[in-house]
């Protein structure tokens, strides 16, 4: 139902040229909307302004701040605020789509500055923090300006309702399911193989859990191999692996999107041992779309993505013995692997951009009803309205 052509402004809180789930989501969404004929402008902090796609507008260089137990590359301050206001007033948008508007970033600034149809998407899932009692009253007037709120997962929605007493509609992150379904199995990755993709030197990605499980796994499956793809410090990670098992691990570094699809369709088992901090788990959706048999830790985001174990096996988070047991079970049972892979591939269709973008767009349609486009807030502040009315009379 993508019929009416809209002028849409999207605000990305994190540095555009640093890798991350939110940035990927915004890039795909923007490109999908442009493909559907809409006019899209993305405002984002940018480090290197030379290689920007033409729909991205730079808001300045991001700064690194510690946030929520990780380093966030965001941007705020008076100069950024001026740029945000300028972008809004020059853009003449029908609608603003703000991502992660509850963290200190240009998304929050835009939410503060603008008046009119606005949609907010909340990505993060975090435990309830006491600090929210202090900042809640500041955030609330801004967040309540949003005409509609989207959460990318049940975990993200719970975070939002916990912190700000407001509800959200759940729309998952999107993937290009068809691209992953076209993956071609590669001989080098087939056999008794386990795949892992992610920044493996980050503890919360859980590679260590897999490393600890390997001694048991290799006892039952002596020829097992683990392929680890993604950026990270390989030497440092290897030090933590039992020397006798080091040759079982092969580090591939960063791989292309195409290789990722091939990778997912080749490995016997894809393992996501993340220990937490995951809100949606886009990589799992991609693995399912690629036809991989998936084993994941039972953190809430993965549990709901895998339908409580219907589309992939779950193991007790951070429990390497349980992981080993699950892996051995599935390595021995090719039929069960196939059942999981088939069910998973069907499940992955729910996350295809065709489906997800349509859902997002129907939220857009609901947000713009009765609205007359996005303006700067100060234009419609009550006293200014009085003044301008007087001027009209004169």
């Amino acid at each position: 139902m993508l019929t009416k052509k809209l002028k849409i402004g999207i605000v990305c809180p994190y540095g555009w040229d640093t890798p991350g789930g939110v940035q990927n989501h915004i890039r795909d969404l923007a490109e999908f909307l442009i493909g559907a004929g809409h006019d899209v402008s993305v405002l984002a902090p940018v480090i290197d302004e030379e290689k920007l796609p033409n729909y991205v507008v730079s808001a300045g260089k991001p700064i690194s701040i510690p946030y929520n137990g990780a380093v966030a590359r965001v941007l705020f301050g008076p100069i950024a605020y001026a740029r945000v206001r300028q972008w809004i007033s020059a853009g003449d948008f029908d609608l603003l789509h703000l991502h992660e508007p509850a963290i200190p970033s240009i998304s929050l600034l835009a939410c503060w500055a603008a008046e009119g149809p606005m949609v907010g998407t909340f990505h993060a899932a975090a435990k309830r923090q006491k600090v929210i009692f202090a900042i809640g009253p500041i955030l609330e007037p801004a967040i309540e300006k949003l005409s509609a709120r989207i959460a990318v997962s049940e975990a993200a929605r719970l975070t939002l309702t916990d912190h700000l007493e407001t509800d959200a509609v759940i729309i998952p992150n999107g993937i290009y399911a068809k691209r992953y379904a076209q993956g071609v199995p590669q001989n080098k990755w087939q056999g008794n193989t386990i795949g892992f993709i992610g920044r493996f030197d980050e503890p919360r990605k859980g590679l260590q859990v897999l490393v600890d499980a390997l001694p048991i796994i290799s006892r039952f499956a002596p020829d097992v191999k683990v392929f680890v793809a993604g950026p990270g410090d390989i030497e440092e990670t290897k030090k933590n692996i039992n020397p006798q098992l080091r040759d079982r691990f092969e580090f591939l570094g960063r791989i292309s999107e195409e290789d990722k699809a091939n990778f997912m369709s080749s490995v016997s088992i894809y393992v996501a041992p993340n220990t937490g901090g995951e809100s949606f788990g886009i990589i799992l959706a991609e693995a399912l779309a690629g036809g991989a048999c998936v084993i994941a830790s039972d953190i809430p985001a993965f549990d709901s993505l895998l339908g409580g174990g219907a589309y992939g096996a779950l193991f007790k988070s951070e429990d390497s013995t349980d992981l080993a047991k699950t892996v051995i079970d599935l390595l021995r049972d090719a039929k069960k692997r196939e059942v999981f892979a088939k069910a998973g591939q069907i499940r992955a269709q729910d996350f295809d951009w065709d489906v997800v973008a349509e859902q997002i767009f129907s939220i857009y349609e609901m947000a713009i009803v009765g609205g007359s486009g996005v303006k700067l807030g100060s234009d419609s502040r009550s006293w200014n309205r009085f003044l301008s009315r007087d001027e009209e009379k004169n």
Binding site: E115, E144, E165, D167, S362, I363, V369, G370, G371, W383
Partner: protein
């Protein structure tokens, strides 16, 4: 002199805060209205689709009668009886749809598809509307808002009771 200045400043601050709250409320009321308008349009559309289904071969005479009645009731209901009428329509539709639709023709399948599409949208619209209403109610409960009658003459919005499980 100094006390006068301080008082003046405090007065200004209070005025700014009141106007800030009033703007907030105004915006919230606007949100309630637009989200209701959305929901209303979708519900009207659903009633129209329900009527078409009632007139198609999908429905046997008895369910057709039930459905037609429910659809007209939902269309004509005033604001108070609206949610009951809409729930009635949901129930009638649910009854018909659970009764097997194996022999649907292409045209009828298109109708059913449209219905499930609408149902999905209605579910979202309800969530958005409910959220707008509860935020508004929360701000209107504040003592300052009530004392200074910042809401003006706008009626207190009420949550739309919708049995979403029948949808």
């Amino acid at each position: 002199m100094k006390t006068a200045l301080t008082l003046g400043f405090l007065l200004l601050l209070a005025m700014w805060y009141l106007s800030f709250l009033a703007t907030r409320l105004d915006r919230l009321h606007h949100r309630v209205e637009t989200s209701w308008a959305n929901l209303d349009v979708l519900l009207q559309k659903r009633a129209a689709v329900a009527l078409e289904i009632a007139h198609s071969d999908l429905a046997d005479p008895a369910s057709s009668m039930l459905l037609t009645g429910a659809a007209y009731q939902a269309r004509d209901a005033d604001i108070q009886s609206r949610s009951m009428a809409e729930s009635g329509l949901s129930g009638a539709l649910g009854l018909l749809l659970s009764d097997g639709q194996g022999h649907a023709t292409e045209l009828e399948q298109a109708l059913l598809r449209e219905l499930s599409f609408l149902t999905e949208k209605i579910r979202i619209a309800i969530a958005i509307h409910t959220d707008a209403v509860s935020s508004t109610q929360m701000v209107r409960k504040k003592l300052v808002v009530r004392t200074f009658r910042l809401a003006g003459t706008a009626p207190l919005p009420v949550t739309y009771e919708f049995e979403s499980d029948v949808l």
